[in-house]
């Protein structure tokens, strides 16, 4: 059951450059999407979210883009900093259908090199 897919297990970028993390989904009932960041030995930390009625949401250095027709979302981090090095999880929900659960992707490990 791969309703949410993060096809790149890892990504390495230079400090100051843009990091782009990608996520694809198959369930057309998903109407809310989130990105979480996770450091080792910690729980996931909420980063940014987007509703399906929008195609972009921005919060400081983080921007999430949603392309519903392609069932694709991406997280842009500009500029990338070494402290951004973590595992990033994409997650989705059928909130409109009354579901409470989040469906997660497998994660992408981002390394930002100084």
């Amino acid at each position: 059951d791969q309703q949410v897919k993060q096809n790149s297990p890892s990504l390495s970028v230079q400090e100051g450059r843009i990091s782009i993390l990608n996520c694809d989904y198959t369930n057309s009932m998903f109407d809310y999407f989130l990105w979480y960041k996770k450091y080792p030995a910690e729980g996931p930390t909420f980063l940014i979210s987007i509703s399906s009625i929008k195609d972009k949401n921005e919060d400081g250095r983080f921007t999430v883009f949603l392309n519903k027709s392609a069932k694709h979302l991406s997280l842009h981090i500009v500029p990338s900093q070494p402290g951004d090095s973590a595992v990033y999880f994409c997650a989705a929900s059928e909130g409109g259908g009354g579901s409470e659960k989040l469906v997660f992707g497998k994660g992408t490990k981002l390394t930002v090199n100084p």
Partner: protein
């Protein structure tokens, strides 16, 4: 910043034994969740809890699992008869309103069943 606290951080148990994983959600939060992550796999939803009852559960959450909010501060996950495949990181999360999916996760309890 308010935190979700989970204890213990690591628990080792014999197969067939009962375990109770404990969580203290953020004090004004009303919605509570358990997720788990088997090593190398996705974070998976187990159960959501609101108003002293289960609001949603996954297929993983079978009769061996139960949740309880025994007092005003704790939220527990009990596994009655642990199996080897229950070995995973278990994350508790809480949220102050329904479908505010930026919920706060705890640091997790690593359960090892031997």
């Amino acid at each position: 910043e308010p935190e979700v606290t989970q204890t213990p951080s690591h628990q080792v148990t014999q197969m067939g034994q009962e375990v109770i994983l404990r969580c203290v959600p953020i004090s004004n939060h009303l919605y509570f969740y358990w997720y788990r992550q088997i090593l190398g796999q996705k974070v998976e939803f187990l159960v959501s809890f609101y108003n002293n009852e289960i609001s949603e559960k996954s297929e993983i959450f079978d009769d061996q699992f139960s949740v309880e909010r025994p007092d005003g501060s704790n939220f527990t996950l009990k596994i009655r008869s642990t199996k080897l495949e229950d070995s995973a990181m278990y994350f508790c999360a809480s949220s102050w309103r329904q479908r505010n999916y930026g919920y706060t996760f705890g640091s997790g309890t690593r359960l090892t069943v031997v």
